[in-house]
């Protein structure tokens, strides 16, 4: 049993004590980055105050402690996503983006040839687009897009057609613009039936879901600490041991080698092969604390809470502003997370966010690193509100109130 109370989580996150322009902060930008609770911040401070040393090659006590903390975080990440091979399948990167570059440059360069297809979608974040464009330029792969329908969901009507020649399907688990949650398990089955592998962008999916790489049967997963109450500077790349063992190195340097001679080198085995240089040690301490914190709350409970906030917000936004505020994303809260992109009639998203800031409401204007998706819906940008485990109905109240002011000012 968990003891999840979002008000308690709010109290745990010091930044939410802030008053912005005379209003209590209503932080609705968790899809960009989440707010770390004190336990996470303190785990990092404690690390630096008591245990800091470089990892792996030390013998002295603090070096051992730092190594245990770092490797412990690997085990915690493995547990959090139910990695079948445990810690040996967890590679720490600096963020989700680096994880995708690792996937494309290591697995991709080793396994894809000119003409092979990587199937992504129109709702991908640039992190799951640009590395494939780079690989196209380098190797000659084709990057193909699953279209997004007017219902803001993947249009799978031509899927069989789209699957021709596909070696890898790489999809976001949850759109950071639409909130749409994609049917990953089903699509993985399709991918595997066609002899393709399945990669999932878990930046939102892991942060706002219950992740089980075994149950979904996916092959690759990427996510970021800072999206799930953890620190900046750390991300995770997961793949099953059999795949990882066959992947060539990507970044080169210390820690990823078994031997270096003047004429070449032998790479190390295991996750170390992909962790060149001094890793994000304090960040791993912070990530482990975040995962512990989330586990204590219970990911299912968080999902349920964020869903109820979303259902309420969608209904009220629709009820309050009718046609003046269009929601760019599914209106039903089925297979949908707490990300609500708004297109406000006659008010540019930048101005929406500016006016909202005056009332302490933090929303993000922009293309949200999903330009192809923006183009698909004829938009340059949206104003996006998104929930986290500490979000409360009063944040939605503040959002609706401030949106009213924005509409008045620009009417």
């Amino acid at each position: 049993m968990t003891s999840y109370d979002p008000r308690r989580v709010r109290i745990d996150t010091p930044i939410q004590e802030r008053v912005i322009n005379g209003h209590p902060i209503a932080y609705l930008d968790s899809a960009s980055s989440s707010l770390p609770p004190r336990a996470v911040i303190e785990a990092m401070s404690r690390y630096y105050e008591r245990h800091h040393a470089n990892v792996h090659r030390g013998v002295f006590q603090t070096a051992n402690e730092a190594t245990e903390i770092y490797e412990g975080a690997r085990a915690a990440a493995a547990r959090y996503i139910n990695a079948p091979g445990g810690a040996d399948e967890i590679v720490f990167t600096k963020n989700t983006t680096e994880a995708f570059n690792l996937l494309a440059n290591s697995w991709g360069v080793a396994n894809l040839r000119a003409g092979d297809v990587v199937l992504i979608s129109e709702m991908e974040h640039h992190a799951n687009i640009v590395p494939w464009f780079h690989l196209r330029d380098r190797v000659g792969i084709e990057v193909r897009f699953i279209p997004v329908g007017d219902d803001f969901r993947l249009d799978l009507s031509d899927l069989e057609q789209l699957m021709r020649g596909v070696k890898l399907v790489s999809l976001t688990g949850m759109s950071n613009v639409l909130g749409t949650i994609n049917p990953i398990a089903e699509l993985t089955r399709v991918a595997h039936d066609h002899g393709a592998l399945m990669a999932v962008d878990g930046a939102q999916w892991v942060a706002h879901g219950v992740t089980d790489v075994v149950a979904t049967d996916i092959d690759f997963l990427a996510f970021s600490g800072h999206k799930m109450l953890g620190p900046t500077g750390i991300g995770v790349f997961w793949t099953r041991a059999a795949l990882l063992d066959a992947m060539p190195p990507f970044l080169g340097g210390g820690g990823m080698i078994a031997d270096v001679r003047l004429d070449g080198y032998v790479p190390a085995d295991g996750p170390a092969r992909f962790e060149a240089g001094t890793p994000p040690i304090a960040e791993a301490a912070g990530l482990a604390a975040a995962l512990r914190y989330l586990e204590n709350l219970g990911p299912e409970a968080i999902v349920a809470h964020e869903r109820s906030l979303t259902v309420d917000a969608l209904a009220r936004l629709h009820g309050e502003f009718a046609e003046r505020v269009r929601i760019i994303g599914p209106l039903d809260a089925v297979d949908r997370g707490g990300v609500i992109s708004l297109d406000v009639e006659g008010v540019h998203p930048h101005d929406v966010a500016q006016v909202l800031d005056q009332y302490g409401v933090c929303v993000r204007p922009g293309h949200h690193c999903a330009k192809p998706l923006m183009r698909r819906f004829g938009l340059a940008a949206t104003a996006r509100a998104s929930f986290g485990p500490y979000s409360l109905t009063r944040d939605t109240d503040a959002l609706i109130d401030a949106l009213g002011h924005a509409l008045t000012l620009f009417s």
Partner: protein, 154 residues
Amino acid sequence: MANLDDLYRDIILDHYRSPRNRGELPTPPARRVEGFNPLCGDELVLYVDVRDGVLVDIKMTGHGCSISQASSSLMSAAVKGRPLDEVRETIESFKTMMGLREASLSEGEASDDAGDLRSMKEINALAGVVKFPVRIKCATLAWNTLEQALGAPS
């Protein structure tokens, strides 16, 4: 504390709602230049028709926030029909206002008598933008694009 009223002056909202000089010009004789603010996705296409050292016509298309739209509209009103050296001075004084240039005495003097006083005064409505540093890029997009369209002074 920066106040919204500093940013969204009436003149700005007016130019945002009814932008001046929207549209295209035939190229040639006009020159077409694109401006782009990757951070917020603002896009601007500027058409400038320069003859005998005078910016005889200017038009624009594109989209952006109220500040970038109003700024480009205000700019077009201020520079249209003006000799290029005055246009350049106006650009300089605008950038000085945005805190992107050190104000220099000669520039200050120059801008005083540079052309249409009413348009210049309207441009001053954008002065409040400096209190919102992230919006400075919105305000300057049009001006940078114009500078690019004019090329290096000959």
